[in-house]
Symmetry: C2
Amino acid sequence: MTYCCALRLQDGLVFISDTRTNAGVDQISVFRKLYTFGKEGDRFIAIQTAGNLATTQAVIGHLRNQLTLQEQPNLYTVNTMFEVAQLVGRTLRKIIEDVTEDTQEQSNYYCSLIVGGQIGEAEMQLYNIYPQGNFICATKDTPFFQIGESKYGKPILDRALTYEMPLDEAVRCSLISFDSTLRSNVSVGLPLDTLIYRADSLKMPRGKRITHDDEYFQQISKQWSETLRRGLHEIPKPTEDYLE
Amino acid sequence: MTYCCALRLQDGLVFISDTRTNAGVDQISVFRKLYTFGKEGDRFIAIQTAGNLATTQAVIGHLRNQLTLQEQPNLYTVNTMFEVAQLVGRTLRKIIEDVTEDTQEQSNYYCSLIVGGQIGEAEMQLYNIYPQGNFICATKDTPFFQIGESKYGKPILDRALTYEMPLDEAVRCSLISFDSTLRSNVSVGLPLDTLIYRADSLKMPRGKRITHDDEYFQQISKQWSETLRRGLHEIPKPTEDYLE
């Protein structure tokens, strides 16, 4: 499986992806699931992928091929992030249709994508793109999307994340979400790829890969366990009627 | 959906179940998913159910009918908790087989069960029973089972729960697990049914129903949100290389 999470906040975009893929439990590999496109000063686009690895790689391959061959439209000639989402969605849908004529079997080749970025002076946008090629857009009310093994890490985002949260705090919140997922599900694994884009910068962020020996992530993991255990102790004992 | 969680700890057994059932989003009902059987001084048996409501009700109905008609074996005549699990598993498997001849369609009628209890002087046991009628047994290493919407509430159990934990703390830990699930998934809903059985007591616990206006559960929910937000603030800011 996979876990990818992306935030669209007042101050910018945050993307975090794990890198574990598995076909059965005895075929586990590391593959990047966070891709970036863009031109400094013009546009920044990030894509995260979850699902069938051949399909996700085909999507990225086609998008890059369109750029190489200067096919129209491509990621560098469309005018808005909405058109980016449309282009990626159409590409995804076509790839799934091409693999099999049998619509019953298509779900074996499904993947989900998160696409975010900014073009020119328009607002940043974040889209969750479905295997059918349609998509939804993040809002102030719902400033984050998750794809893959999303449930373990959802409670902390539901409780703590807000649109107005500073980026560094949002990164911490997301890393806790990942730590919870990593601990409860072996199909999600380190290293993690992170990327923080600052609103209106139109700069390509360098990003960071968090490996097993990353001291900051180790500290988060350890400290969060202590937070939970201490918080549990601080909750008053249940009244007698609970224990009867 | 459903969320049920059961613990087998040094000091006793803890069972908590939600009560929400839904067929689509516009047909939501309250049904108890925690059932008890037993005779003071002889045996205590609790059963939790998740899955197709007709199937789960049929299982409980058959088990009760066996008692009424004094069919052999029944829950009050089997000698061990292992035999209880076998009896419940066989009953479940037969009900699913009876609904449809088509094995492809059987999964529509699946349900999962947790069965725990104690008979005479033998050790307490806790079983997770699958739709096929087979089952696994809780151990000191893995002292809890979950059925239904288990993922949202798993991280806190993975991190904090231990076999040696006192019952009152284990109840708090489980209620946090439920609170996280309730907040992130509308298919799990209040009221909750809780039951705490003290090891070797062979007493039928009264149990408690936690409703929307339960002050203790409201306090847990509020205090836990504060714990998480405070814990998030206490985590040091990421180093600069995270934000580049």
